[in-house]
């Protein structure tokens, strides 16, 4: 493991959420790679069966067993897992109840389907329960106590989007009315204890747009209210500044001289037709408007006073190489 200080030393479970469309799977993948780049053994898990991880890494679809999907220098590795409620329940029943015939019967009677799709809360307890198990797993199954080496140095969870994540993580509350006592209850209690410990943080991914930023503010307030440890804010798809602030002001107020622009264009042999000059000025005005909006949103993010990371917009879209580039950026900014 590296001796370099990062913002999240001691954290073993990184939960990544964000509004749909902000690139939370991409960021979760980049964070996993960034951690692996420090020589760590990392598990990257998804819980919504979307196969976002396998698509991001361009590997065969993940199953409900862990598979290595990437490796990094210094012996770091990323394993991928698509947590599936049914498999998690059967595994759970097997481990804790040693179910033989009854397991098959439960399946036959539709009880497994019932528990994993209809019974509220149970599904989430199972999904996050599997993540909990992975965080606590030891390299040597028989080793116990604080000295035992964990199977994974870090687990990154590509969590449900902002609209659902608080409910998803708040498993205790979800099962509170349903299971007041019993194994589901105690499982929920252990999960909650881990989620609220300093081992866990929830990072939020956003774009510099109104709705994603609003949802970021909302989800952080909600997480805070439930006592979940809040991590950093990752601002995704940041475009670099092109115009100077002077030019931005001029563009926004339509105070750029058409004549000067036309003269400049003609000098470098671009045919300065009215259409081209007007087009350029319109684009500049739109650009200035967008930049002004982005600045307002960036201010709102800064007001949260959380560690903030900025990932560039990749013009070619995100592929396996793009993820590595983003991972480097996160390392450089101290997230991993």
């Amino acid at each position: 493991m590296s001796a370099r200080d990062t913002d999240w030393d001691g954290v073993r479970l990184h939960i990544v959420t964000g509004k749909g469309g902000t690139g939370k799977t991409t960021v979760a993948a980049a964070l996993a790679l960034a951690l692996a780049g420090q020589g760590k053994r990392v598990l990257l898990a998804e819980v919504e069966g979307r196969q976002g991880i396998s698509q991001t890494f361009d590997v065969t679809p993940l199953a409900s067993t862990e598979a290595r999907i990437a490796h990094a220098p210094q012996g770091g590795e990323v394993f991928g897992l698509s947590v599936e409620a049914k498999a998690a329940l059967l595994e759970y029943l097997h481990i804790f109840y040693k179910l033989g015939r009854a397991g098959g019967l439960l399946e036959k009677f539709g009880a497994i389907d019932f528990a994993t799709t209809i019974a509220p809360g149970v599904r989430d307890v199972l999904l996050i329960g599997k993540v909990y198990e992975a965080v606590r797993r030891r390299k040597d199954h028989k080793a116990k106590g604080p000295g035992a080496i964990p199977a994974y140095d870090a687990v990154v969870l590509d969590a449900p989007p902002t609209g659902r994540v608080v409910r998803f993580l708040n498993v205790n509350h979800e099962v509170a009315d349903l299971a007041r006592v019993g194994p589901i209850r105690s499982q929920a209690n252990s999960i909650t204890a881990m989620l609220k410990s300093p081992q866990t943080v929830v990072h939020v991914v956003t774009l510099l747009e109104e709705m994603p930023v609003q949802e970021t503010l909302d989800v952080i307030a909600d997480l805070r209210a439930t006592g979940m440890p809040i991590g950093g804010v990752v601002v995704n798809q940041v475009r670099e500044a092109i115009l100077t602030s002077k030019a931005l002001t001029a563009a926004a107020r339509s105070r750029i001289s058409r004549k000067d622009v036309a003269a400049d264009l003609n000098r470098v042999n671009v045919r300065a037709t009215d259409a081209v000059v007007d087009g350029l000025l319109t684009e500049a005005r739109d650009h200035a408007e967008r930049v002004a909006l982005e600045r307002d949103e960036a201010k709102a993010i800064a007001g949260l006073r959380r560690p903030t990371y900025r990932l560039p917009s990749l013009p070619e879209g995100v592929d396996a190489n793009g993820i590595r580039e983003l991972a480097e950026t996160l390392v450089a900014q101290g997230m991993a």
């Binding site: 019967l105 006592v181 609003q214 264009l265 684009e283």
Partner: protein, 395 residues
């Protein structure tokens, strides 16, 4: 070349009674639904827009400041053509409560509403939003058809929930059906429902193992709650499923049009592909694809490469002239240089969007498509929605 999706022909056709907007999260589904509803209303139709989870300011622009699960008239629209626009936000818990109250006796309804299992199912079960969106759609349609001579609405525009798996709402009736017909439910509902004495005899050994295991795993209290819930809901199950089936049939009907909404990004278009295939599989009437937030350049005559090289030339010139001390020239040249770079970046994004859209179209020949240009600001007022409506109509 894909056929152009003619939105005006679609919303002006009195045969079109329901428009369903579907697509993955973050592609502008709600905005599209609202813009479409507004455009149809201003062209003279009586429209109700059912939104699921609108952005706060968009909701405000539609006058949706209270979440009361009832359609409210949207103020400030152009009514010169005799149309009207109502809008509502879905409250899934309240919709579910209303269904219970409408289909169970008062004391039974009270019993169901107080059951913790019901409370969890109605407010947090992952599929409830989809079920309730379907339920609400059915209710709105019923309300619309109540007086055929003077219908309250002649067009319902629905924004679908951002489902974790695409098109979950299409599965809602089926899932509900298999849930209700499931052995497990019949088992919980009591032996009488499980098919008579003989059946019970054969299976009783198995049943006992199942119930005792469940008690062990879930705890006895939860099982009791589930049983009470199932028993109480039993009376209204039939009606529930019947209406879900009815709504499903309504969706397949010629009066319904599905619009798949996507943004020109790889992931969103992949989801859109899935939607298109699923709709096709279910034989649902797909009207076309809306590609939202497509970058367009205002100076299409100038390529990105040409703009960049021109910007570089100006840059060289600038460094030459600033050493000569003439700052006036370099000032405007710097601005022009910036304009060219802004253009180059936008032209590159526009080209990428075009190529992604083209690939989608090539993979789905024959699907009518319309592109909506990216707006430089977020949309949260009626003029903004009107502009989106114009773009949807290709104007």
């Amino acid at each position: 070349m894909a056929p152009m999706l003619d939105i005006d022909a679609l919303i002006d056709d009195p045969q079109t009674r329901i428009v369903v907007c579907c697509g993955s999260g973050g592609v502008g589904k709600t905005t599209t639904a609202a813009a479409l509803g507004l455009r149809a209303a201003e062209s003279g139709r009586h429209v109700v827009v059912l939104t699921i989870d609108p952005a706060r300011r968009l909701a405000q622009s539609l006058g949706l400041t209270t979440l009361d699960n009832t359609p409210r008239l949207v103020q400030g629209i152009d009514v010169t053509r005799g149309g009207s626009l109502d809008a509502m936000m879905l409250d899934m818990k309240r919709t579910f409560d209303e269904v219970v109250q409408a289909h169970a006796t008062p004391d039974k309804a009270e019993q169901i509403l107080a059951n913790p299992f019901y409370q969890a199912v109605s407010s947090s079960f992952a599929g409830t939003q989809e079920y309730m969106a379907m339920e609400k759609l059915g209710q709105l349609r019923l309300e619309a058809d109540r007086d055929p001579d003077n219908p309250r609405w002649d067009l319902i525009v629905v924004d679908t929930p951002p489902s974790r798996s695409a098109l979950d709402f299409l599965d809602a009736p089926k899932r509900l059906g298999s849930f209700l017909d499931g052995r497990f439910i019949r088992l919980l509902a009591g032996p009488a429902k499980a098919g008579g004495r003989a059946y019970v005899k054969v299976f009783s050994a198995g049943v006992n193992i199942v119930t005792s295991t469940l008690t062990k795993v879930l705890g006895g209290q939860m099982l009791t709650d589930v049983q009470t819930f199932v028993a109480a809901l039993d009376t209204m199950f039939g009606g529930f499923r019947e209406r879900a089936d009815h709504t499903y049939a309504l969706l397949k009907d010629g009066g319904t049009a599905f619009l798949v909404v996507a943004s020109p990004e790889r992931d969103a278009l992949r989801e859109a592909s899935y939607f298109v295939d699923r709709l096709d599989e279910e034989e649902m009437p797909l009207a076309g694809l809306v590609v939202n937030r497509v970058y367009r350049v205002a100076a299409p005559g100038l390529s990105a490469a040409r703009a960049l090289s021109a910007a570089e030339q100006l840059g060289d010139e600038e460094s030459g002239s600033s050493s000569g001390g003439s700052s006036g020239v370099s000032d405007t040249a710097a601005i022009t240089q910036g304009l060219l770079r802004v253009h180059a970046v936008q032209a590159e994004i526009a080209a990428r969007h075009q190529s992604l859209a083209k690939r989608f179209i090539a993979g789905h020949p024959g699907i009518a498509t319309v592109e909506v240009p990216a707006a430089s600001a977020d949309i949260h007022d009626l003029p903004g929605l009107r502009a989106v409506g114009d773009a949807l109509a290709g104007r």
